[in-house]
Symmetry: C2
Subunit: 353 residues, 2 copies
DNA sequence: CCCTTCAATGGAAGCGCTTCCAATAGGCTA
DNA sequence: TAGCCTATTGGAAGCGCTTCCATTGAAGGG
């Protein structure tokens, strides 16, 4: 009963053109009259035709190899959920489009980190590469990759990366803004922000969002204590301990990812603090970690799998010759309200930020 | 400088046979003299030849579609690490071998769960399916799948599933034994075991390992309190609360996965208990969760990604006609010692199990 | 000893697609 | 108006592999 999948020849037949022409239309090739192009597209639509990626890659030559690069530090958990979710999404995309994927963790501290990435591309003839933060904002690296004839798509670029390559991500500034609004509406006035590794610009944007929300609420952004973390559970704990030892601990701590928030939570327990009574803590990403700690974390959901999937799609589109300026694709985020945030204890709710 | 990849014709040329014969050897076809077979294999070796999965799937026809099925309950987190890790491994395998992967979560409670799985196979013409627990031990389902002409490989079958299909997993009994030995060596004598959902036989085997270790240590396995959980963080907390309210709480709690252990940890903190001083807690799987809670969990590492990857490989081998009895591939596990286990507080270390 | 049978092997036709190259037809130039 | 250029389009050759079918001997049967 199930009809055989239509092939490019079926489309050609229906459109009354040669197979070659259909291929041209499909791959955005030049020299096709607009009328013909429309006719082909209509036939594709009518037959619900999808190219067979296997056949395409067989015929098309090329390595059909993409790379996904993560920055990993010595103490960064290489199997973190963030990493896994992105790889999962990228793999799904590659499978659907007939590409191979090479996933690599590169020590971000390494002085020749750029060379490592470039070697990867050269040795495996990668046609394209997906860069995650902070590589996503490494303009020099991006340019070097291009020089090798390879294409680039970034995930969550936060700064200059956006101007030099296609990218995918959420609106991090808005994410920071939203979570801050949530906290402000609960009555918080004294905040601390725990940032990620230096150079992770998209995480820094979350802080910009926080500042905007504070300004809107009539508070001074400078009053926010900034803690420089590195996205690890461990750093979250250490910095929170330092924070709590300080002269005037905040009532709300906004962390740039869930792992650090989990660390903060853990230390807070150790100090006998009530969360959220004494301290509200928020994460970012909405990884499973946020549901597995106590109390479960209020966080910002980020569609990591979709981001990586879309990054692959964008990369393949470039590979197929689509032209035009760099596009940044914004996926939607959402504040996920759980139990790590609440009204600050009355006695503390007075001071100013 | 990089030589072009050798093709099947190169192998044929070097072996002095026709392309057809090489293909036959590669796919375990019949009617090839042993001498010729060896000659071909030698050529394959010499050229380091690898079949091009794209070409194979193009030529071979067939759907080249595999399915990966998870049991999900209403409250089971569908994006758990366990699930993600397995899907990641399976995707890697499929990508390398040129197969498509369909991942599906099926409500385990549903009365027509079997039909759902069978429909999945039929509608997508899946050539093979990977079953995870507890489906891995559902002999009826496995037979039904076969009747549809599809192949089956199980991940972590714990009982009868092992006798009716190929499988991949660790030695769960040994895993339970090892973790119990660790606890015994620390001086624990009173244990509780938190199991997973009913029907998850491989998790039940961990309990068998515990019993063996106790017996070896001169303790009575019946003394172990058994808690019936469902692998969720939530159930871990609830059951632990009940356990602690009981007449004689144990000094060591062995959980069948990390999430439940995290829940147990969380409740223990809430009760003001010292972990591991008052209660040692262990997980199972070594998912990132175990490093993200406080104190980090002592657990049993299970190579989930490799397991799923190998399951795909085994499935594809069957698809390619390899014969012989069902094979169970045992991957190695390891106790990962972290800080959630330690010597029991002296005052409590006396009672018997 | 001839004919049938069958195991072992080779030949050749595609799988669905890209791409090189040839062909066609206007549009221009001189 | 002849000659040339160029924007479009089609033809056909594979990409690396599986598989149907033909071929070849040698073993087995009468």
């Amino acid at each position: 009963m199930t009809l055989k999948k239509p092939t490019i020849d079926d489309v050609a037949g229906l459109a009354g053109v040669a197979r070659t022409t259909v291929s041209r239309v499909l791959n955005g090739g030049p020299n096709v009259r607009d009328e013909v192009r429309q006719r082909v597209l209509k036939a594709v639509e009518a037959l619900n035709f999808r190219v067979n990626p296997q056949a395409r890659s067989l015929a098309g030559g090329g390595s059909r190899m993409l790379a996904l690069v993560f920055a990993s530090d010595l103490d960064t958990e290489p199997n973190s959920f963030y990493t896994s979710a992105l790889e999962l999404g990228a793999l799904r995309g590659c499978l659907a489009l007939g590409y191979q994927l090479l996933t690599r963790h590169v020590a971000q501290q390494s002085p020749d980190r750029r060379r490592l990435v470039l070697d990867l591309i050269a040795s495996h003839k990668c046609q394209g590469i997906i860069l995650t933060p902070p590589f996503a904002d490494d303009v020099t690296l991006i340019e070097d990759v291009r020089r090798l004839g390879s294409h680039v798509v970034t995930i969550s670029p936060g700064g200059s990366g956006r101007d030099v390559a296609d990218g995918v991500g959420i609106d991090d500034e808005a994410g920071g803004y939203d979570i801050a609004r949530h906290l402000l509406s609960l009555g918080h006035r004294r905040f601390a922000f725990m940032s990620g590794i230096e150079g992770h610009l998209s995480a820094a944007r979350r802080r910009d969002g926080l500042s905007r929300a504070l300004l809107e609420g009539g508070l001074k952004p400078d009053g926010v204590e900034i803690l420089q973390g590195d996205f690890t559970f461990r750093s979250g704990g250490i910095l929170t301990a330092r924070l709590l030892d300080g002269p005037s601990p905040p009532t709300a701590l906004i962390c740039a990812n869930d792992d650090m928030a989990a660390g903060a939570l853990s230390i807070s327990h150790g100090r006998g603090l009530d969360v959220p009574g004494d301290l509200s803590i928020t994460g970012f990403d909405d990884t499973p970690v946020s549901a597995i700690v106590w109390p479960p974390l209020t966080t910002v959901h980020q569609p990591l799998k979709d981001m990586a999937h879309d990054a692959v799609v964008a990369l393949v589109e470039r590979l197929n010759g689509s032209a035009g300026g760099w596009r940044f694709q914004t996926l939607s985020h959402a504040v996920v309200q759980r139990e790590s945030t609440g009204r600050p204890a009355p006695k503390r709710a007075t001071a100013t930020a």
